[in-house]
């Protein structure tokens, strides 16, 4: 199912649930009867729960796109860099060579762990909060340290990686004694440079 279809279905289901819920005003005024209780159960609890679950899932899926990340203007330079054919940053090389097919920002900035997606979504909500309240500082910085295991999720077992990185280096990377940016990079453009673009 395409994202657009899922989006439309969620919207229709949400509107229908809302209409049913409004209709429950009449049902609630009825005298107690088994029929009234069933209608209330489905109208107030079951349909809205299913709708909200579907809506939350759709929202989470749609919020993974680079276009969505770029909808806050502070992210504009990073998104422009992705599409800049002259850029040599790691992010743009991954984007333009289609090393990652979709959800490029999300793929690199989400840990491949059980709670990775949840942490990423919490971070996303914090970003929007800071953006809307204007409590962010420039230049924007990554919170905490980047988890380079995310790079290894795709590159770690590749032939090119195994051929170009000797066993000692692989051990150092696994032990977090060194990281990818010691040799590769930059990942994103310098922000002064980026903001002038």
């Amino acid at each position: 199912m395409t994202t657009l279809n899922l989006h439309s279905i969620s919207l229709v289901v949400g509107l229908v649930s809302l209409a049913i819920l409004v209709g429950m005003v009449r049902v609630a005024k009825r005298p107690n009867s088994p029929e009234r209780h069933w209608l209330l159960l489905f109208g107030v609890a079951v349909f809205p729960t299913l709708s909200l679950w579907l809506g939350a899932h759709t929202t989470m899926e749609n919020a993974k796109s680079p276009e969505f990340c770029g909808s806050c203007h502070v992210m504009g330079p990073f998104i422009n860099d992705l599409k800049n054919p002259k850029s040599e940053t790691l992010a743009s090389r991954h984007y333009q060579n289609r090393f990652i097919l979709e959800n490029q920002c999300y793929s690199c900035h989400t840990d491949y762990t059980v709670f990775g997606p949840v942490k990423a979504k919490m971070a996303g909500i914090r970003h929007v909060w800071k953006y809307e309240t204007g409590t962010y500082g420039l230049p924007i910085k990554l919170r905490g340290t980047y988890n380079f295991q995310n790079c290894l999720h795709c590159h770690g077992e590749s032939r090119r990686f195994l051929e170009k990185h000797d066993a000692d280096l692989q051990k150092q990377i696994a032990a977090k004694e060194t990281d990818c940016l010691q040799c590769h990079g930059p990942v994103h453009p310098e922000q002064k440079q980026a903001q002038n673009r």
Partner: protein, 67 residues
């Protein structure tokens, strides 16, 4: 007791309506602001509404002597 049961149901329905409304708004105008409104406020209201609905069911059963 009857009033409390009715009020619980009303508040529950209002909270769930807010949740669904924020969801519909975020799906129509998909921006970071509306998404945060839905995920932050809407889902919280939705969960609170469902908890209150559960409370309504318990109160209703209790008032009818089932519980």
């Amino acid at each position: 007791m009857k009033t409390l049961t009715a009020v619980t149901l009303q508040i529950s329905a209002i909270l769930i309506t807010i949740a669904l409304a924020t969801m519909v708004v975020s799906l129509i105008w998909f921006t970071p602001r509306t998404v945060t409104l839905f995920l932050g406020l809407g889902l919280t209201c939705g969960i609170a509404g469902l908890v209150l609905y559960l409370a309504y069911v318990i109160l209703d059963l209790h008032s009818r002597g089932v519980l």
